[in-house]
Amino acid sequence: KSSVSVSRSLREWKREKERDVMKSNEILRDPIDAREIFSHIKDINDPEHPYSLEQLAVVSEENVKVEDELSRVTVFFTPTVEHCSMATLIGLSIRVKLMRVLPKRFKVDVKVSKGSHASEAQVNKQLQDKERVAAALENGNLLEKVELTLSGKTAM
């Protein structure tokens, strides 16, 4: 465990150095790739099952699209069943997680994979609606469920 934290702090130190160099070049960018995005979301728990989204193959590195230059991230997730009633909650959890860890420059889109959900268009529209997302994150009950999935627990 200690070696992990050492290597992490080493990495952070390196990053900081890199940042300093970039700052001097006036390019303040910390490039991000699909692997890094995936590492942030893979351990989110399924709302109903005691498994992570990675274990249930709801998310995968292949289904993360990153356009670093444009600061755009799109995560496609695949609900376990076509009529999954938890699809919006899963999507919201992924969005919240990425909002918290990514630099502010990023625009994040979270969508269900094409053809993987019976109400694909509705779920996507809801997750894309910034006003609904903002309101959802002020809803105590909902936020509590999101927090549970983010901390690796089931929410139901």
Binding site: K104, K107, K125, D129, K130, E131, R132, A134, A135
Partner: protein, 389 residues
């Protein structure tokens, strides 16, 4: 030949700013509201100068605004929208906490000089089931419209003693209603929704009921905002959407002001909306706000210059602000844009007028403000050549 330039950045809100509204009669005072659960009133700074030549003190207004009042402790959640009454004495705020608050401005002309603007919350309107997303005062000042997540539009009538009575709860939208806007001069209401439509609401001839007089499926996705051309008897409309399109809708005379020509329930066979034109915007994320430049806000319009073409300002989820102009009827083009106007989504945009120091005959300068998720409000000028290339 057209240029947008940043003039000032208003910093003070601690979270996303959702709405910016100028005091209708003054334009040197503006109200903003935020996810930080406050409404802020900002006033333009005036710089007093001593003119040595003739010993006369002159003053001029700058583009700098400073916060002169913060209204907090009223709402428990994000405040999504603020609206001034036409007289400027009242302010309404709509919140995700399901309520609408009414503030009255303290009558204290003496303090005006001290740059104090005081408001007191005098009423709370309860009735919406959940998030209220927009509020708007009617041109007569007697009615207030609100709308929200519960798919309904409410119309409130103000009565003496700061009482507000609900006179209509309007159902018809099948999804949350994002925005309500009144006709420029009449008590005709328009609502834009997540259900991709715009609805027109009118009071019946006998004057005791409101009903939907037109529905237009305006876009392929959520209609985030609409704005009316500011001409006598009501002009055309512009709508903007999640789908990335701007659409211009025809409006006839005063009696034919609904965006849609008819609704299926009206019995008319023609359900086609009088769409004038539509164009794909430069925004590559949802377009969240739009405002039509009004004559009152058009600099130099009184000085006998050639009338400016119709002009729209829009902002969106791609952090940009863009100004569009009508080249000829039905043909619009992007006149200028600032790609990274803000560090986050641009939620609202509003033109305002301001006396500029120097008159330039070949150019006109218009001012607008933009409000963003980055917590700031920015003041911009749009300088345009009046001589078309």
């Amino acid at each position: 030949n057209h240029k947008i330039a940043l003039k000032a950045t208003l910093v003070g809100h601690k979270d996303a700013v959702w709405c910016v509204a100028f005091e209708p009669n003054r334009n040197d005072i503006l109200a903003t509201c935020s996810s930080d659960k406050t409404v802020k009133i900002w006033k333009r700074n005036v710089v007093k100068r001593d003119d040595d030549d003739d010993d006369v003190k002159s003053s001029h207004q700058t583009c700098e605004f400073r916060c002169v009042c913060t209204l907090d402790g009223v709402h428990e959640r994000t405040i999504r929208s603020v609206s001034w009454s036409p007289c400027g004495r009242y302010l309404a705020s709509a919140s995700f906490d399901a309520t609408v608050a009414i503030y009255q401005r303290a009558e204290d002309e003496e303090n005006e000089e001290e740059d104090e603007v005081k408001f007191e919350c005098v009423a709370a309107l309860e009735g919406h089931e959940n998030e209220v997303k927009s509020c708007a005062w009617s041109p007569s000042g007697s009615l207030l419209a609100t709308c929200g997540r519960d798919k309904s539009v409410w119309i409130w009538e103000s009565a003496p003693g700061n009482h507000f009575e609900c006179v209509a709860v309007l159902h018809g939208h099948t999804q949350d209603v994002k925005k309500v806007k009144w006709h420029e001069t009449e008590d005709v209401l328009y609502s834009a929704s997540y259900d991709d439509t715009v609805k027109t609401w009118k009071e019946d001839l006998d004057g005791d009921d409101w009903s939907c007089s037109g529905t237009t499926k305006a876009h392929e996705s959520t209609v985030w905002d609409l704005t009316q051309e500011k001409v006598k008897e009501g002009g055309r409309f512009a709508t903007v959407s999640d789908d990335g399109w701007v659409k211009i809708w025809k409006a006839g005379g005063a009696q034919r002001t609904e965006i849609s020509g008819s609704s299926s329930s009206s019995g008319k066979k023609d359900d086609a909306a009088p769409l004038e034109c539509s164009f794909r915007s430069g925004h590559d994320r949802p377009i969240l706000c739009v405002d039509w430049l009004g004559d009152a806000n058009r600099k130099n319009s009184e000085s006998g210059n050639k009338k400016q073409p119709a002009t729209l300002a829009a902002g969106g989820g791609d952090n940009s602000v863009r100004v569009y102009r009508e080249k000829e009827t039905g043909v619009w083009e992007e006149a200028a844009a600032v790609v990274n106007a803000h560090e986050d989504d641009v939620n609202d945009i509003a033109w305002f007028s301001m006396a500029s120091e120097k008159e330039e005959t070949e150019q006109s300068t218009n001012y607008f403000a933009s409000a963003s998720d980055d917590g700031t409000v920015k003041i911009w000028t749009f300088c345009s050549s009046n001589v078309d290339e």
